[in-house]
């Protein structure tokens, strides 16, 4: 096997394959072995609960589609409850991401802080 180990800052990933934020969910574990990925990037998580846009959220046209979901989020407390038991490493990276984004939070989320979480898969 070729060694695909990849470093991102002080994170060590077994390979550099990871989905973009919002294109992946844990339900995909029913489709393929998600343990093959180097990391799982969560959909944006906001501090508070956001319901997202009203439907319709998607439209298709010919060979393409447009979507506008509105960044729904069950909030950080829900995320922590749901995932903390998966791996101890998340806590550290979550806090790190939180601190980083606190400094660079985009204007949209000036009050409702948003952050992306990179979940290292062992």
């Amino acid at each position: 096997m070729v060694d695909l180990t990849t470093n991102i800052g002080d994170l060590v990933l077994k390979n550099p394959i990871m989905p973009a934020s919002g294109t992946f969910s844990d339900e995909l574990a029913n489709v393929f072995n998600i343990g093959k990925l180097g990391a799982h990037v969560a959909k944006t998580i906001t501090e508070e609960i956001r319901s997202g846009n009203p439907t319709p959220r998607v439209s298709e046209s010919g060979n393409n589609m447009l979507n506008s979901i509105g960044i729904p989020s069950k909030g950080i407390e829900n995320f922590k409850k749901k995932y903390y038991h998966y791996t101890q490493s998340i806590k550290f990276h979550l806090l790190q991401a939180f601190q980083l984004l606190q400094q660079i939070a985009s204007p949209i989320f000036a009050k409702k802080l948003a952050f992306q979480v990179l979940m290292q898969l062992k």
Binding site: S25, N30, T55, R57, G62, I69
Partner: protein, 271 residues
Amino acid sequence: MVNGSSNKIYEVNTKVISNTLVNNNYKHLILSAPSKVLDIQPGQFFHLKCPNFEDTISFLRRPMSVYQYNKQQRKIEFLYKIQGKGTMAMSSLKHSDYFNIVGPLGKGFELNKNYKNILIVARGVGLATLAPLANLAFEKKINLTIICSARSKEYLMSLELFESLSSSVFTITDDDNTSSVDNLNRLINQFIKNKKVDAIFTCGSSRILKLLKDICEQYNIPGQVALEQQMACGIGMCFCCVKPFRINGKIVQKRVCNEGPVFNISEALPW
């Protein structure tokens, strides 16, 4: 697994056995499918890759509930209404064509083992969604009362199937002026007063859902409804197919593909 079902999801190429007109608007598609995709709960659906047809391309798959399935015979069937470009393209499928499907998807109906008498109320294409539930209830020797509602007699599909599973099948139609909410309310109240109804199942009509919400609350009967929504991924990651639900007085958005398509009637909201 979180939320929905933990069944394995497969993408498979099936082969068309037949695709025949049932009436002016509906077709019945029978596919030969590998048995690994046929561990299906009634109410679950598949995401169908509609073929290119003339100049139209259906970029997104189309979600469709399963009408019938048979693991021994490796068959899966869909009953669908030709409504938009996706189903129009599906209607062009011919014997021995390949047809790509993903599934089984979502959370289906739950039949509690204590249920002795259940009531099924279906309208239009909802009849197709409830057919596998009627089959399962029959297998489990649960008494079935079935009310089929439609615009006219020709849209009372799968009546023969329902009549083979239950001796209490009632039909109501717009043409006969028997399908009004008032009449349905009278009919259901009669059933409940004559015989204890342990659970109510429905699909296909907002008006009927609204009525059943009241009836379920009034008599404290659990109820389940299968809902539809436009979908993109069908698996749970894209959050395109949400609908609002009322839970403990609060409006909550849930994904029809993953937390559903079957929901508690008490939480579902008429659309």
